[in-house]
C-alpha cells in the first residue's frame, strides 16, 4: 500500500523504480524486488539501476536495504546505480553521510547510459 515497485529489463541489466514511502513497513518489499533481480543474474548484466525520483519518504530501513543491495552487487560484480534522488531521499543520505558510498546519478538518463 505505501510503496509501488516496478522492475524493468534494460540494456545495462535491470531498472527498479520505487514510488511512495520506504519505511519499516515497506522496505521488505523493496528488498524482495532487489532479490528478484539478483536471482535473474546473468553475465550480460552490468548494473542495477534504482530510480528514486518518486520516493516520498525513506528512513533507515530503506538505507539498510540499499546498503545490503550494494553489498550483494559488489559480491556479484554488478554496479548499483542510484538515480534522481528525491528531496526526502537526499535528506536521509545527507544525515547518514552516504553520498560517497553509492554511485549517484542526477538523472535516470545518465544512470542508464552505458559506461
Amino acid at each position: 500500500m505505501n510503496v509501488d515497485i516496478v522492475t524493468e529489463k534494460i540494456a545495462l541489466g535491470y531498472l527498479v523504480k520505487v514510488k511512495g514511502d520506504v519505511d519499516m513497513n515497506s522496505s521488505t518489499e523493496v528488498r524482495e524486488a532487489f532479490g528478484q533481480v539478483f536471482k535473474q543474474r546473468s553475465s550480460a548484466m552490468k548494473a542495477l539501476v534504482v530510480d528514486l525520483s518518486q520516493v516520498r519518504y525513506m528512513d533507515s530501513s530503506g538505507i539498510a536495504t540499499l546498503v545490503e543491495a550494494l553489498q550483494t552487487c559488489m559480491k556479484q560484480g554488478l554496479q548499483l546505480r542510484l538515480a534522481d534522488l528525491s528531496p526526502p531521499v537526499k535528506d536521509v543520505f545527507e544525515l547518514a553521510r552516504l553520498a560517497s558510498v553509492f554511485e549517484i546519478y542526477i538523472s535516470l538518463n545518465d544512470a542508464m547510459a552505458e559506461r
Binding site: N25, D59, V67, P88, L95, A96
Partner: protein, 141 residues
C-alpha cells in the same frame, strides 16, 4: 503559547505513516522549513521503529503514544511506550564510516534534535523526549 497534540497508534509499522502525517504539518506550522520538518519526521519515525523493534520486540498489539508540543522557542516530541525499558547506556549511535545496515536511527535522532532524553523512571516502559529549538528571528518573535 503551548499547543499540544497527542496521537496514539498500535505498535505496528503500518501506522508509522500516520505519525508522519501528524508530525510533518505540525513541524511546518511551528515555523520549521520543509527540509527541517522532513528531518524531524525522520527522527520521530526512527524513534517509533525502535519502540516497535526493541521495547515491544515486534509485538504489534501494544501502543505508542506521541505528543508534540509547540512552544514559543522550541518543539518537543515525547514518545511513550509500555514495553521493555531502554538501557540508555547501551544506545550508542554507530560510527558512520562503518558502512553496514542498521545503527542509523539513534544517529538521526541526535543529528536532528538538540536534545534526546530517555526516561525510565516510570513503573513501565520508557519516555523519550526529543527537543528542537526554533531559530528565533527577532526579539519576541
Amino acid at each position: 503559547m503551548t499547543e499540544l497534540v497527542a496521537l496514539t497508534v498500535p505498535s505496528h509499522p503500518k501506522f508509522l505513516y500516520l505519525v508522519r502525517n501528524v508530525v510533518y504539518p505540525l513541524a511546518v506550522n511551528s515555523g520549521f522549513s520543509k527540509k527541517e520538518a522532513r528531518k524531524i519526521v525522520l527522527a520521530v519515525d526512527e524513534a517509533c521503529s525502535n519502540i516497535i523493534k526493541y521495547a515491544y520486540a515486534g509485538d504489534a498489539t501494544k501502543t505508542i503514544s506521541i505528543t508534540v508540543t509547540n512552544e514559543t522557542d522550541h518543539i518537543s516530541v515525547r514518545l511513550i511506550d509500555l514495553g521493555r525499558k531502554v538501557d540508555a547506556a547501551k544506545i550508542a549511535p554507530r560510527e558512520l564510516d562503518d558502512v553496514r545496515p542498521g545503527g542509523l536511527g539513534t544517529h538521526f535522532m541526535g543529528a536532528v534534535f538538540d536534545s534526546v532524553v530517555y526516561d525510565t523512571g516510570q513503573d513501565q516502559g520508557t519516555v523519550l523526549t526529543l527537543l528542537k529549538k526554533k531559530k528565533i528571528v527577532g526579539p519576541g518573535a
